[in-house]
């Protein structure tokens, strides 16, 4: 019931991150605008240090702060990849933001605060922590989308994101209040105990009602159809550096939230939410893949592709088995890494006054710079799910888990739409390799060595992790306690 010193040890990475953010704010306040690079490298240093703290922490699973904070293998695994992806996001953003005079300290602070929110979210042990962690993440994201405040497109995107995000938070809270009303506790573990017992009781209706609202809220935060309306506008409207961030790491955190809520708290109601998630998954796969075909803007196309990938992710969650959760977790991590590379390559091609966000901007990239054309090829092929890349094994595992759980028709639907979806990824590859370039000169790459290296590593990682996916996969299985 009370606070003990062991709690601080559990929360050490988060506490360090919070104090480090405050230090970054103080440093950014006193330095001159010309020295803004200091904030940039300091922020990356903070994320790396937090990552080290998460990795070296070998303490046993525990719950701290009266059950508010959960320290377990799933949380650790998700945190490692959230932090890794964030490092890539920072590195990609530097030149892009500088070219647009958006290279301000606030970008770094808000991203760091969002990372703190995600870390708390995946470690949440209570409905209250889920809510405050989520708000910390989304509030930072709203402001980030509006980073380019003089652009009407950016402001419109931020407004849509804010209104729909607030609505989603309201729906989620309403669901939580009903769950609380039915079970009388906010603690996820206790809810699990009570909710499982309540099958057939008079509270069942109230629980089911709360569950519907929770699933709708989760769908909103993921961007799953039919709650996906905000996603394309926000992805297109925000600066690409911000899109890279909100399109990658938060998906890992959203998986953590969905898993904690649905399995951790309401595992006993799996027959109900399994079906709801299956419907969301099919709709997302259909809408995401079909509408993406019609897009000419790459950012918009990737937004619809996100919706379809969320469909796959939900397919893994809908199983309700540990191997299904492990597959969904693997998928969330794979998607975050692929998405970071995809938006990173847009930022590589972008210059001052040129966004490189149309698919036509990639025309003949192979003749202008073969290596980066190959990196984009790896990213697109991985998103499409072509073996032996990372994305293929992520899809394969989800489908295998779905088949094991006896969801044959869902697996068939997923495969059909994955093949439909391959079309628009392959179109980007076709444009790069077979269309004549609009200008003959070689690509003027930004003089940003870290950006080139990290993007190359990120692209190569898709191939490497596709060939050697074993360790990560067994880590996911171990964390979920699946065989």
């Amino acid at each position: 019931m009370s606070f003990s010193i062991q709690d601080l040890q559990l929360i050490l990475p988060e506490a360090f991150l919070l104090f480090a953010i405050c230090a970054v704010i103080a440093v950014d306040l006193v330095i001159k605008p010309a020295q803004r690079d200091a904030t940039h490298w300091l922020s990356i240093g903070v994320v790396v240090a937090t990552l080290l703290l998460v990795i070296i922490d070998r303490s046993a699973d525990a719950r701290g702060f009266s059950g508010m904070f959960v320290h377990d293998a799933v949380a650790r695994l998700l945190k490692v990849f959230i932090l890794l992806v964030t490092i890539a996001v920072f590195v990609y953003a530097r030149t892009y933001l500088k070219d647009r005079k958006l290279f301000v300290g606030e970008f770094h602070m808000l991203v760091l605060f969002a990372v703190l929110g995600m870390m708390l979210l995946v470690s949440a042990g209570s409905l209250v922590m889920i809510y405050v962690g989520l708000e910390l993440l989304t509030l930072s994201s709203y402001a980030l989308v509006a980073l380019n405040r003089d652009s009407p497109l950016s402001s419109e995107a931020a407004m849509k994101y804010f209104v729909l995000g607030a609505l989603a938070s309201g729906i989620l809270l309403y669901g939580m209040s009903m769950i609380y009303g039915a079970t009388g506790t906010l603690d996820l573990q206790k809810i699990h105990a009570v909710a499982s017992l309540a099958a057939g009781s008079s509270h069942q209706t109230l629980l089911a009602f709360g569950l519907v609202f929770l699933v709708a809220g989760i769908g909103f935060k993921f961007g799953a159809a039919p709650f996906h309306m905000w996603l394309p506008d926000v992805y297109q409207g925000s600066p690409t550096a911000v899109t890279t961030f909100i399109g990658s790491a938060p998906k890992i955190a959203a998986f953590g939230m969905a898993w904690r809520l649905l399995d951790g708290a309401l595992g006993g109601l799996h027959p109900h939410w399994g079906e709801m998630l299956a419907v969301l998954a099919v709709l997302s796969l259909a809408i995401g893949n079909v509408v993406a075909i019609a897009q000419t803007n790459l950012k918009r196309m990737l937004a619809y592709s996100t919706i379809s990938h969320v469909g796959f992710l939900l397919l893994g969650l809908a199983n309700g088995t540990p191997s299904g959760y492990a597959a969904a977790m693997f998928y969330a991590i794979a998607y975050a890494i692929m998405s970071a590379a995809a938006f990173g390559s847009i930022q590589l091609l972008a210059r001052a006054g040129f966004e490189a966000e149309e698919i036509d901007d990639f025309k003949g990239l192979n003749q202008r710079n073969p290596w980066y054309a190959f990196v984009v090829l790896l990213v697109m092929a991985s998103l499409a799910g072509i073996p032996p890349l990372f994305g293929f094994f992520a899809k394969l595992l989800v489908l295998k888990a779905a088949l094991d759980a006896g969801m044959l028709w869902l697996a068939i639907v997923a495969i059909v739409f994955a093949i439909v979806g391959a079309f628009y990824y392959l179109r980007v590859i076709k444009v790069m390799y077979f269309d004549p370039p609009e200008t003959k000169d070689t690509l003027a790459l930004p003089q940003d060595i870290p950006l080139r290296w990290v993007l190359s590593i990120n692209g190569a990682a898709l191939l490497f992790l596709g060939l050697f996916f074993g360790p990560l996969l067994s880590w996911c299985y171990r964390a979920m306690g699946a065989g």
Partner: protein, 201 residues
């Protein structure tokens, strides 16, 4: 049906109708006034549950501070001066209705208090509402409480980022410079030729 239950249904109806009004009426000042009524009725419902501290806090913070600020903003948005002056008479009816409904709710609560001294079982530990809340906030809910503080910090940073514009030519004070000023910088002695008596005025 006890008096308490009747009051609950009364408050619940007022709350729902007022909340619906907030999102349906066209006039933004009416909407703001109805929002005041919504908050007030929610506070009355909490009083019914004997959550006195929360109810008072809701009235003080939301009705007292936040909503007045809201009303200011809403009225400022209408830049024309004439309608602002007419405002008092125009908004009097809705304001009066809101006030009367609030009065009825308060009287109902006082009536309940006199009719039944013990509506709900009191806390067996004998701790007051406020003490219990304070204890829970700083023991069981310490972590979310701190995170809420972080969320407020983010809101602050975001607000500054989105609204602060450094325009050239804006005159502002720099206290450090003001303090460090020397006497020689304050007074400038200018040598002038003395003017003759019959010179220009």
């Amino acid at each position: 049906m006890s008096f308490e239950l009747i009051l609950f249904y009364l408050f619940a109806t007022v709350l729902t109708v007022a909340a619906l009004g907030v999102i349906t009426v066209k006039n933004s000042v009416h909407a703001a006034l109805l929002l005041v009524l919504t908050f007030f009725t929610a506070a009355a419902l909490w009083l019914l549950l004997q959550a006195e501290f929360l109810a008072i806090a809701l009235v003080l913070v939301y009705v007292g501070a936040v909503m007045v600020l809201f009303l200011f903003v809403v009225m400022m948005l209408d830049i024309k001066v004439e309608p602002l002056r007419e405002g008092f008479v125009r908004y009097l009816p809705i304001g009066a209705i809101v006030a009367v409904v609030m009065l009825v709710e308060m009287l109902g609560l006082i009536g309940l208090k006199t009719m039944s001294a013990q509506a709900l079982p009191a806390d067996p530990a004998g701790a007051s509402n406020t003490a219990w809340l304070g204890k829970a906030l700083f023991t069981q809910f310490l972590l979310p409480f701190e995170v809420a503080a972080v969320i407020l910090t983010v809101a602050l940073i975001a607000a500054v980022m989105l609204t602060l514009r450094r325009r050239v030519g804006v005159k502002s004070q720099d206290p450090a410079k003001q303090v460090a000023v020397k006497a020689s910088e304050r007074v400038r002695i200018v040598k002038m030729e003395s003017a003759s008596k019959g010179g220009t005025p």
